[in-house]
């Protein structure tokens, strides 16, 4: 099908253009740099705390965990916020008025969020490597990253798309950040999950954040560090299983929700949101 190739190419081009734009927009640059700076500062203060008898610093353990968290945030929050904003400003309606525009739009968003995630990871990873010892990436680690990062995005992007479709007002996207932070607190990102009560551990293991952190740790840290993990193992099989389940559920649900949202887009719907937004400003 020629049109399928066109859509793939147009969508990819769209993602690349928007990614390039993100480097020349102050707001986007801030979104890249702020977490990176905050993160490096955190790692800096954690570098001397040794993790209970392992000889590895807390900072070294936190580094890959936060990269996993960043992936979950990029997948859920970035795409939700983009969808909500671009629905309000009419970008989505434009896509709808273009043949195959909606498919191209989604391909573009996946390329954009994937690219932004990689850049964020590099911005956080590279400076931190100079601050902490014990973090390394061997061949097995690379292999893990190659399946973990795409699977992580596949588990979280559809979820973000569903949230973005259901939220009608871009201002309300902030509300999904709160539960995300809650999840981060119980998912063993900044401190081993073994330190929290069992029932909270169970809750955390139902969501992708924990598994993304765990998977990242397995890629970057020596196996000796499994002593502070549940089951004293990296549990890669379970990681793939849980993330895979989220991906399947999300991919099954997202197209229907997106279609329902897209069906409701029209000039007057955009005009109504514009009225509301203008009232907000004044």
């Amino acid at each position: 099908m020629t049109s399928l190739r066109t859509v793939g190419r147009a969508g990819f081009a769209r993602g690349v253009i928007e990614l390039r734009q993100s480097f020349t927009t102050a707001q986007d640059l801030w979104a890249y740099l702020f977490p990176a700076v905050a993160f490096v500062v955190t790692i800096f203060f954690m570098r001397d705390h040794e993790l209970a008898g392992t000889g590895v610093s807390l900072g070294a353990r936190t580094l890959p965990s936060v990269l996993g968290m960043g992936l979950a945030f990029a997948g859920v929050q970035t795409i939700a916020a983009q969808l909500a904003v671009e629905r309000e400003d009419g970008t989505l309606l434009r896509a709808k008025a273009t043949p195959d525009g909606m498919s191209g739009y989604l391909v573009g968003k996946i390329v954009l969020v994937g690219g932004m995630s990689l850049i964020s990871i590099l911005l956080q990873l590279v400076p931190s490597l100079f601050l902490v010892d014990g973090v390394r990436l061997d061949a097995v680690g690379w292999l893990t990253l190659i399946w973990l990062v795409p699977l992580g995005l596949a588990a979280t992007l559809p979820l973000g798309a569903v949230v973005g479709s259901l939220v009608d007002n871009p201002r309300n996207v902030g509300f999904i950040t709160l539960p995300l932070f809650g999840l981060v607190a119980i998912s063993g990102i900044f401190y081993p999950i073994t330190a929290i009560p069992g029932w909270l551990q169970a809750v955390a293991q139902g969501f992708p954040v924990y598994w993304l952190g765990l998977g990242m740790r397995s890629a970057f840290l020596p196996d000796s560090l499994t002593v502070v993990e549940l089951g004293h193992s990296w549990r890669l099989g379970e990681t793939a299983g849980v993330l895979g389940l989220w991906a399947v559920a999300g991919l099954a649900l997202a197209p229907a929700v997106l279609r329902r949202m897209a069906r409701r887009e029209s000039g007057s719907a955009v005009a109504r949101r514009r009225e509301r937004a203008l009232q907000r400003v004044t």
Partner: protein
């Protein structure tokens, strides 16, 4: 699609939101290359009509055929033959003008035919809407009128056979408006694009339309060229003249007879004669007022009937 099929065929279109009837049986058609203007007061159902035809809204009842297909079920190949000029706001603000047109145009390449080459070459298009000087500018930095011209460019980037324009010239200065009118004429004359546009600017309707549809109270209350509409309403013409240094004004239903009698009576003493037939604006006002009065009296009749 055979040649006898109209580009646009709407029969007894109805739209109801909850218990409110917005469209109550709209019927009209458009031929290839025709410029049809949908004119009407706010809330008359213009946008609802156009959104149903664009496939953005599902109708309650009636038959609609747009380029030979039902917009509620038509696919992407159908959409590629359609141009939609949306009322814009601030979408794609970070994009550069040329870059955006190039990108949106790329979706149409798969739908090019030997007869219709798609998309419109981007530099020609930028020049056609007069944005060559702004081609590398970010969309967010354009003025209101420039932004609107970009919207028009986006609407025609796929060389549409049918173009929908919803209030296209809002925010245009007179020069931009003139250029826009030239572009519309070019599209309909040279490229045989069928154009349906909504406006509440009568002057614009008169300049652009091959045919004007007046929509009021969810119905088409008049359908014809500006001239036909003016004739249809038997409004009185206004006659002004001077005689012996005095200025006279008189309104008459039959201006020709009145003027003949005037000359028979006063002959060469009549100077500065002017006869003005009611303008489109007078016609429009009369039609809308009649329609509203008609609805009021119908409502009153229904009310009396209920007693």
């Amino acid at each position: 699609m055979n040649a006898s099929t109209g580009v646009l065929d709407v029969r007894d279109l109805r739209m109801r939101y909850g218990s409110v009837d917005v469209l109550r049986g709209v019927t009209f058609a458009a031929r290839r290359g025709e410029v049809v203007v949908l004119l009407g007061p706010n809330g008359a159902g213009k946008t609802t009509t156009i959104e149903i035809l664009e496939g953005f809204r599902v109708r309650s009842a009636g038959e609609v055929s747009v380029l030979g297909a039902d917009p509620a079920q038509a696919g992407e190949a159908w959409r590629a033959r359609l141009g939609v000029v949306l009322q814009s706001w601030r979408d794609h603000g970070k994009w550069r003008v040329r870059e955006l047109l190039q990108h949106l145009g790329s979706y149409y390449a798969a739908y090019a035919t030997p007869l219709v080459r798609r998309p419109w070459p981007v530099d020609d298009l930028v020049a056609a809407v007069g944005l060559t000087g702004q081609a590398q500018r970010r969309v967010a930095q354009l003025s209101g009128g420039q932004r609107r011209r970009l919207d028009v460019a986006i609407g025609i980037v796929g060389r549409p056979e049918l173009l929908f324009l919803d209030e296209p010239t809002v925010g245009f200065d007179p020069a931009a408006r003139r250029e826009f009118h030239d572009l519309v004429h070019r599209l309909s004359d040279v490229d045989e694009t069928t154009i349906l546009l909504t406006t509440h600017d009568l002057d614009e309707a008169e300049k652009l339309a091959d045919r004007i549809l007046i929509l009021a109270g969810g119905r088409i209350i008049a359908d014809g060229s500006a001239d036909q509409l003016s004739r249809r309403v038997a409004a009185e013409s206004e006659i002004r003249w001077s005689r012996d240094g005095s200025r006279y004004v008189h309104a008459a239903a039959d201006a020709t007879t009145f003027v003949r009698e005037l000359f028979e009576q006063h002959g060469a003493a009549i100077t500065d004669l002017e006869v003005r037939r009611s303008s489109l604006e007078d016609t429009y006002m009369t039609l809308v007022r009649e329609s509203e009065a008609g609805r009021a009296s119908a409502a009153a009749a229904a009310f009396e009937g209920a007693l």
